[in-house]
């Protein structure tokens, strides 16, 4: 079985770390915040390390999603909500908001 590349979790949940997924430098990892406001992801492009967690904070009064185009994660953020995804593997992730496909973001994990 392939290890799951990403683990999504709500704010209320503790960060989930998958046992057995050995990654170089995959210690505690940092948290990188992406603000979702005025229908944009900001910063739109980020660089992260395996083990880092991306945290999206929806400051708009409408719902948004962060949806990985390769289908590893698809999280929905209500207004004011924060959602997190822990990155497990190197790679390039491009994501959009499914509700507003003009909203795009990119994460380089290396």
């Amino acid at each position: 079985m392939r290890p799951r590349a990403y683990v999504a979790s709500g704010l209320a949940l503790a960060s989930v770390v998958l046992a057995g997924v050995a990654l170089a430098g995959g210690g505690a990892g940092g948290v990188i915040r992406v603000t979702v406001g005025d229908l944009t992801f900001s910063p739109a492009s980020i660089t992260a390390k395996p083990g880092d967690t991306i945290e999206w904070v929806n400051g708009d009064f409408i719902d948004h999603t962060a949806t990985d185009e390769a289908a590893h994660f698809d999280i929905v953020m209500a207004p004011g909500e924060t959602q997190r995804v822990k990155l497990q593997e190197p790679g390039i992730i491009t994501y959009i908001c499914r509700y507003h496909p003009n909203m795009t973001g990119r994460i380089e994990v290396k």
Binding site: L39, F61, I62, D63, Y99, H100, N102, M103
Partner: protein, 176 residues
């Protein structure tokens, strides 16, 4: 033939807003502006709710869901704002004309089904958002005197411009 008819109905819908673009709106007060914006959003919610019962294409269905979600959120915000500002939304010629033309358009869409419906609905969404966005940009936003109302309309415009592009994309996919 059906598409020509749909286009003709759109013209009716657009004329109401074009009238305010043409300058008939200098006299609009915030209560009227709020009501026009609310009405325009409500029309799109109702059109989308109807589309959800009729649409065939998954892309059209999910677009309609997006319209319901966003326009409801903006209108909830608008209602909260008018309440806070203690403004009573005022019905006016523009909002009445919008409702009337929406009823006409609905009657037209009700006669369609399947791919013809999807196409006509998506086309109307492109045109409707274009018209409403033009009215917001050129008339409603500049005419709004309350800062919070102006800012809500500006955010709305940003959201609705996205809808316009999204509708264009959906329409293009349908025509493939």
């Amino acid at each position: 033939m059906k598409l020509i008819k749909a286009a003709a109905f759109f013209t009716v819908a657009a004329s109401a807003l074009l009238a305010i673009n043409a300058g008939a709106a200098d006299k609009l007060n915030d209560a009227q502006i709020a009501h026009i914006a609310y009405t325009a959003g409500d029309i799109d919610v109702k059109a989308a709710e109807f589309a959800l019962t009729r649409a065939h294409s998954p892309a059209v269905k999910s677009f309609a869901q997006d319209m319901v979600r966003d326009h409801k959120a903006v209108n909830d915000k608008a209602l909260a704002l008018v309440k806070k500002l203690n403004v009573t939304p005022e019905d006016n010629d523009t909002s009445k004309a919008l409702v009337k033309s929406a009823e006409t358009k609905r009657a037209e869409l009700e006669k369609l089904s399947g791919a013809a419906f999807d196409q006509a609905y998506a086309e109307n969404e492109v045109n409707y958002h274009k018209t409403v966005n033009g009215a917001l940009d050129k008339t409603l936003i500049p005419s709004a005197s309350n800062g919070e109302l102006k800012s809500l309309l500006e955010t709305g415009l940003k959201i609705f411009k996205g809808h316009e592009q999204h509708a264009e994309h959906v329409l293009k996919e349908l025509q493939k």
